[in-house]
């Protein structure tokens, strides 16, 4: 069985500047990995390039998702095939109701899987059930997508969307940023509910805090566009103790 995600020798430039410089990473179904690193180490670049955002130039390397060439696919194709990115800064789209948006998203995924699309009524039944499970307020569906949401609400909405779309590969880009401890617990709880043998998750984060609530199987330290260390969950603790300062010595080019 192929890995859920296999990244080999990935080199990516933004505005002509090389940000990822030969990154290797393998993620299997059922695993949760954390990618940690200081600001500017390429964490968000990794999440974005995997999701297919414009403006990231792939210089070299391959990314295989469930045996398929991920980089050859348009962002919407990746999403339909089960790649979900939880955004660090979810955008607001004024006037676009969350219900309309989510139905289009869910139906795109269903269509891809050869399932029948939900009509408005079926969709409401499904979505309301999920909202109840996650304690999301009823008026959420009528609100415009992310409009006027607090930082915490936006992140919770991302987790809710993830639950609804049932992705196979979850990429969470600093999902913990800007959350107070209560919101962090709620978001973490949402992530943990979705841990499943047929699903893999990549948590991109600056802080260990999130990993206390969502214990990863593996932790990778990203620095200078490469993974410089990998280990078990204990590595996150070490980083907390020593900070990222040591990386500069260790990873500095000879």
């Amino acid at each position: 069985m192929p890995a859920m995600l296999e990244i080999k020798g990935l080199r990516v430039a933004v505005d002509g500047k090389e940000i990822l410089r030969g990154l290797d990473l393998t993620l299997n179904a059922g695993e949760v990995h954390a990618v940690m690193g200081p600001n500017g180490s390429g964490k968000s670049t990794l999440a974005n390039v995997l999701a297919g955002r414009d403006g990231y130039e792939v210089l070299a390397g391959t990314v295989t998702y469930q045996g398929q060439d991920l980089l050859a696919q348009a962002p919407e194709e990746r999403a339909r095939a089960g790649v979900f990115l939880g955004f660090q800064y979810p955008v607001e789209i004024p006037g676009l109701s969350t219900a309309v948006f989510l139905r289009a998203a869910v139906n795109a995924r269903r269509q891809h899987r050869g399932e029948e699309e939900f009509d408005a009524m079926d969709f409401l039944t499904v979505v309301k059930g999920r909202m109840k499970e996650l304690g999301i307020r009823e008026d959420f569906l009528q609100r415009a997508i992310n409009e006027g949401f607090s930082g915490g609400e936006k992140k919770r909405a991302e987790i809710f969307q993830m639950a609804l779309l049932e992705p196979e590969l979850v990429l969470l880009d600093e999902i913990d940023s800007g959350l107070d401890i209560d919101a962090l617990k709620i978001v973490s709880d949402g992530i943990n509910r979705l841990r499943a043998p047929d699903r893999a998750m990549l948590l991109v984060t600056h802080y260990r805090r999130l990993l206390d609530y969502v214990p990863p199987d593996r932790v990778h330290v990203l620095s200078g566009g490469q993974i410089v260390r990998s280990g078990g969950p204990e590595l996150a603790g070490e980083l907390e103790q020593s900070g990222y300062g040591w990386l500069h010595e260790e990873a500095a080019p000879a």
Binding site: A74, E76, A79, R109
Partner: protein, 489 residues
């Protein structure tokens, strides 16, 4: 962040109403003179007062110059190169019952989704909601048929072509024609007064709620022909009417002029809701062809508590020059203007409204949404005027512009004149761009690019769309989708 793709990228757009009906026409040669006006008037068998009214307007027009203040750019219109009268040939000029209408014309309107058979029309809407829509179908210079006249007459509602109104209700026409938009109002209104060939006439008697939606569908077909029609709607005291207007034209390489006048009169406690979906041929991607839509629309809230509400969705025309306005004469009267104007490719729009507050406690609301894509140019131009004596008058204006791509333009020209110290005027304006961020967010959820743009635009227009009657709501969503086709890539 570097954005490697340019979202202002174009493909051929798909204008579905661009076909030509092959039908023999009775047309006068191109050119404008007193003789042409006399010819039009005699073809219509008009009474003396109408001819005199036309000639006076024409003489006034000769002294006027085309307006140059609008934020649009086009070569001068050659008024001697326009055909001022073109009618599908018929056995006689009398208004026709449906059985007598040329089947070719019926097929044309059918193809445009405008059923003229009353039974079919009812069957069509019964499934949706509401009691149905009556249609006055105008083809080039003449009204070909008006549906549901009998049923409306049972309620005392007069709904007919302008030509018939001149013949059958000359006293009403005489009393109200030009009373809201006088022939001397502006260059194109004067031209229209001189040469208008048909249009729709509506009279709702006192206290009557019009039992169905009324509508006019305008179709330009013949080459080189200008369409000059006039609509006059009178809502007598305490009456209500909702009126819809739609329009299309074939795809032709030369520009064609459409210069209409719409006059609304709402007496005491009367309400008129006027909704337009404007889908004239917009020209091709390089800006060849398309309709010049130079239109004067104005309503007068002549009595206390009267209300006039304009809703317009402007997606077509090469150039749109149009300012549906309200004169709030009666105390407590209400004027509303809800507008979505979309310009793609090389389209230009200069559109907005005027709210003239005269009576006490008059209120007006302006919600304008301008969307520019491609190399489109979109200007909002509005005047809010509070005359001395308009005590406690209030206006709220909100103007939002949405840009798609980087080669389009949006402009806002709000004029505010306040002579009454107790009046309040509020104005809010925003300009935003459909961001790569918004598009990427949608795409990351599996939503394709064009659907994403359409959803974002629909969200942007929501406050206006909710004002549209049911009959239009679905049509408009489809139309916006078509108009934006190829605006991203």
């Amino acid at each position: 962040m570097n954005t490697s793709t340019d979202i202002g990228h174009f493909l051929e757009r798909d204008y579905q109403a661009g076909f030509i009906t092959d039908i023999e026409a009775d047309a006068v040669p191109p050119g404008l003179s007193e003789d042409v006006i006399r010819l039009i008037s005699s073809k219509k068998g008009e009474p003396e007062f109408m001819l005199n009214w036309r000639l006076e307007a024409y003489r006034h027009w000769l002294k006027m110059a085309p307006p140059t203040w609008a934020h649009v750019d086009h070569p001068p219109v050659d008024f001697q190169d326009i055909v001022y009268y073109s009618a599908p040939k018929a056995k006689d000029d009398a208004p026709k019952s449906l059985d007598e209408v040329d089947p070719e014309l019926l097929a044309t309107f059918e193809k445009l989704g405008i059923p003229l058979h009353e039974r079919a029309a009812l069957a069509g809407v019964a499934a949706e909601a509401g009691p149905g829509v009556a249609v006055d179908a105008v083809f080039d210079s003449v009204s070909v048929t008006t549906t549901f006249k009998k049923r409306l007459a049972e309620h005392g509602v007069i709904f007919c072509s302008f030509s018939e109104a001149v013949k059958d209700h000359p006293e009403l026409v005489r009393q109200y024609l030009g009373s809201v938009v006088p022939p001397s109002d502006n260059f194109y209104a004067a031209l229209n007064a001189a040469v208008f060939t048909d249009g729709s006439f509506v009279y709702i008697p006192k206290g009557v709620r019009c039992p169905m939606e009324l509508s006019t569908y305008f179709r330009i077909n013949a080459a080189k022909t200008g369409q000059f029609e006039r609509t006059l709607i009178i809502a007598d005291a305490g009456s209500h009417v909702s009126y819809l207007e739609g329009c299309t034209a074939p795809m032709r390489d030369e520009n064609q002029l459409h210069a209409a006048v719409v006059e609304l009169v709402a007496l005491e406690d009367a309400q008129i809701k006027y909704s337009t979906v404007q889908n004239w041929y917009p020209g091709d991607a390089e800006g060849r062809g398309g309709i010049y839509n130079f239109v004067t629309k104005r309503g007068d809230c002549r009595g206390r508590n009267a209300k006039i509400s304009w809703t317009q969705v402007e997606t077509g025309s090469a150039i749109t020059w149009k300012y549906p306005s309200c004169v709030l004469t009666g105390d407590n009267s209400v004027g509303e203007f809800y507008s979505v104007a979309l310009t793609n490719n090389r389209q230009q729009a200069d559109t907005g409204t005027k709210m003239i507050h005269i009576g006490r406690n008059t209120r007006s609301t302006i919600i304008s949404k301008g969307i520019s894509a491609g190399r489109g140019s979109n200007a909002y131009r509005g005047l809010v005027k509070m005359l001395r004596g308009a005590e406690g008058a209030r206006n709220y204006t909100q103007c939002d512009s949405l840009l798609i791509g980087s080669r389009c333009g949006a402009h806002t020209f709000p004029y505010i004149e306040v002579q009454e110290p107790s009046a309040t005027v509020e104005h809010e304006a925003t300009t935003s761009k459909i961001g790569e961020d918004q598009l990427f967010y949608c795409r990351q959820r599996g939503i394709g690019e064009e659907e994403a743009v359409s959803m974002i635009v629909n969200g942007f227009c929501k406050e206006v769309f909710k004002e549209l009657p049911m009959e239009f709501a679905v049509e408009v969503q489809r139309l916006l989708g078509v108009s934006l086709e190829g605006s991203v890539g």
